[in-house]
């Protein structure tokens, strides 16, 4: 008994010594960091997280004295945190609405700017036993299915656009996201544009009151439900579908062409919308015109305050934004995001200069 106690004592002593050593090293490191590194904190959307973390990492390699931390806590939380001032910048998949902008201006006396960074898209995915062909979806079909009015796969609303495909007369099992997400925002934004009934009954948002269907958590939850449920339909991010080799359908765009989502067709949607983009960049590009434009596309935004009290921080953020929109765009397509069109980058560069 005594021997064990003795050993234990030595062990504890050793442990505390180790902890002490490690913590002193850590402390030393922190003091070095504090002296030379400029820490910038951001929080927000999860959808652009892979590209943002790549950017921040590359930028840190380029400028070792600037370190940008990003928490992917969700668009809503990003807007909230930047409004509360707990982070230096926010990020969101949906633009801030007028009330949120007003709340920000009332609190600080200056506004907040939106900067589109990359583009994403949402695609319809389905699982119909015996159907291998890529299906074509009209806006009416998608809205009808998600409103619960088109209930069978062989409904004329679907079959008319898919001549030659033998669609079964089975009930459609509708799957949507259960967690609040930018993906749902883009999807419901699109449905609101193409269906008045959707707009008045359901509306657009990160979480909505779905008329029908099962909820899956995350892209993986939706995919899991669709894959395991025969005759189901769901929607996922293009990136997720591309990385996991999930088949998805084409959607009829505003010009009447059926377009499958890919990086080119998503960028095309942004280009065609670029001519009419407002000065604050708060624009939805779903259902964009243009023959090659994929209609369920969207920007994702960084939310940057108009004024910074800390000049070093301001310069670092301005520098980063310029880099991300020019050199940084070379990392975009490797991660399956679509690039910003040149017109928009040019316009954004001007706005970056206005940050004070």
């Amino acid at each position: 008994m005594k021997r064990i106690a003795g050993k234990l004592l030595i062990f504890v002593a050793f442990c505390s010594l180790a902890v002490y050593l490690v913590s002193s090293i850590d402390l030393a490191e922190q003091t070095v960091l504090a002296q030379s590194t400029l820490l910038i904190n951001g929080a927000g959307a999860t959808f652009p997280y892979p590209i943002y973390s790549k950017w921040f990492d590359e930028y840190h390699k380029k400028y070792p004295n600037i370190q940008i931390n990003y928490q992917s806590v969700g668009s809503g939380a990003g807007i909230k945190q930047v409004t509360e001032g707990t982070v230096d910048f926010g990020a969101s998949d949906g633009p801030m609405n007028d009330d949120q902008l007003k709340a920000y201006r009332d609190k600080y006396g200056y506004g907040i700017l939106h900067f589109p960074t990359v583009l994403g898209a949402v695609v319809p995915t389905y699982n119909i036993p015996g159907v291998k062909a890529a299906l074509n979806f009209t806006p009416e079909a998608l809205a009808g299915i998600y409103l619960g009015q088109v209930t069978k796969w062989n409904d004329p609303a679907i079959s008319a656009a898919n001549k030659g495909v033998n669609l079964p007369g089975e009930n459609i099992v509708v799957v949507h996201r259960s967690d609040g997400s930018g993906t749902s925002y883009i999807w419901t934004d699109y449905l609101s544009k193409v269906s008045d009934e959707w707009k008045t009954k359901v509306g657009k948002g990160t979480s909505v009151n779905w008329p029908v269907g099962l909820g899956g958590k995350g892209n993986e939850g939706v995919t899991g439900l669709v894959k395991s449920t025969p005759n189901s339909i769901g929607y996922v991010e293009l990136i997720y579908a591309a990385q996991n080799n999930i088949d998805y359908g084409a959607v009829k765009n505003a010009s009447g062409a059926f377009v499958k989502a890919n990086l080119a067709s998503v960028s095309a949607a942004a280009s065609s919308a670029a001519k009419e983009i407002p000065d604050d960049f708060r624009v939805s590009i779903t259902n964009a015109p243009g023959k090659t434009a994929y209609p369920i596309s969207s920007f994702t935004w960084l939310l940057i305050p108009e004024k910074f009290s800390d000049a070093a921080k301001r310069d670092a953020i301005k520098g980063f934004l310029k880099w991300a929109l020019t050199d940084g765009q070379s990392y975009v397509e490797n991660l399956s995001y679509a690039k910003l069109p040149k017109e928009i980058v040019a316009k954004e560069s001007k706005v970056i200069n206005s940050i004070q």
């Binding site: 967690d179 609040g180 509306g203 979480s207 269907g213």
Partner: protein, 329 residues
């Protein structure tokens, strides 16, 4: 959980003017103070929790009042929030879980404590403790990939054929829903029931069993008529621990319940629980009313656990008065 007040023996002749100093030196008083602070912090945390939840849900409490409990709509876009489908889903899944888990868990505990040889009992106990330590997201994945397909293809059609006349087993079989969520929850809470019940059964004094056997009872009769009643309050304690876990479980449930706020008599129907909707929507909730309604749901869940725990206490008191063994929950 009875609070035992240990009376510190007065420090003999030193008691008097030096008493506090003497007691401080022996450490008794310090230990007493420290442990008292620890115990008090539990109460403090609970009160703080209620206070924060109450404070954080001002908007919906004023806007909806008691309607919050009786409304079925949950619409973040048009700002209508009602908790009823979530309360229903929480209670139903917990009920299904307990209905499945309690007989199984107690049965297993009886075997382990009363019938199995020591070595087998200890080995099995090791695995049960292991099960209790598995993170819930693992159970969720198991649910999605294994339980859901089996439910949809075999269990639900089977139930529909045999017991389909009951409203419980009607409607389309999606695989996800109340039944599946309850089933996964049952798997998750069984280890708790077995572990605690086994300990309680093992702590039943040996002479109780011997007395029953001496009176001519068989092994099973002594277990059923003497040991179990003696251990009843402790076993109930294990069931309520399981209930608490079932009510609050989030990850595993949200992965298999279908996440649709519905009230339906059918266990095949997809549903939603309070914990699941909070986890799903909190991070992306933008409007104040939406966030605060989620906070109020948290308050509702807190109240629900509070009420159920109160009932549990009451049940233990009532049954203890009817003359079972010592209270040892």
């Amino acid at each position: 959980m009875s609070t035992t007040t240990t009376t510190v023996p007065s420090a003999g002749p030193a008691a008097g003017s030096h008493s506090i100093f003497a007691r401080l030196r022996t450490g008794d008083e310090i230990a007493r103070l420290i442990t008292f602070i620890f115990a008090a912090s539990v109460v403090l945390i609970s009160l703080l929790l209620i206070f924060e939840l109450w404070r954080g849900s001002v908007l919906p409490r004023h806007k909806f009042g008691l309607h919050f409990f009786f409304t079925d709509v949950w619409d973040p876009i048009f700002d209508h929030f009602g908790a009823r489908p979530f309360i229903y889903g929480t209670l139903i899944t917990a009920t299904v879980a307990l209905v499945l888990a309690v007989p199984l868990g107690i049965g297993a505990a009886i075997f382990l404590a009363e019938l199995a040889p020591q070595r087998i009992s200890d080995t099995l106990q090791f695995f049960i403790d292991l099960l209790a330590a598995v993170p819930s997201v693992i159970y969720g994945l198991l649910g999605v990939f294994v339980v859901v397909p089996i439910m949809r293809q075999y269990v639900q059609p089977g139930l529909q054929h045999t017991l389909g006349f009951l409203p419980l087993f009607q409607g389309p079989a999606y695989g996800v829903g109340f039944l599946t969520a309850g089933f996964v929850l049952a798997i998750m809470v069984i280890p708790y029931i077995i572990s605690v019940s086994r300990e309680v059964l093992l702590s039943v004094p040996r002479n109780q069993r011997e007395a029953a056997l001496a009176l001519g009872a068989t092994r099973w009769e002594s277990t059923w008529k003497v040991v179990l009643p003696f251990a009843r309050t402790g076993i109930m304690g294990s069931v309520f621990l399981a209930l608490a876990r079932a009510l609050g479980e989030t990850m595993a449930v949200t992965m298999v319940i279908g996440n649709t706020p519905t009230i339906s008599a059918s266990l095949f129907s997809p549903g939603y629980t309070i914990a699941a909707v909070i986890a799903n929507e909190f991070s992306e909730a933008t409007s104040d009313l939406h966030v605060q309604s989620l906070v109020e749901l948290g308050l509702v869940l807190f109240l629900l656990t509070f009420i159920l725990n109160g009932l549990a206490r009451l049940l233990i008191v009532v049954t203890a008065q009817r003359g079972s063994g010592t209270a040892q929950a």
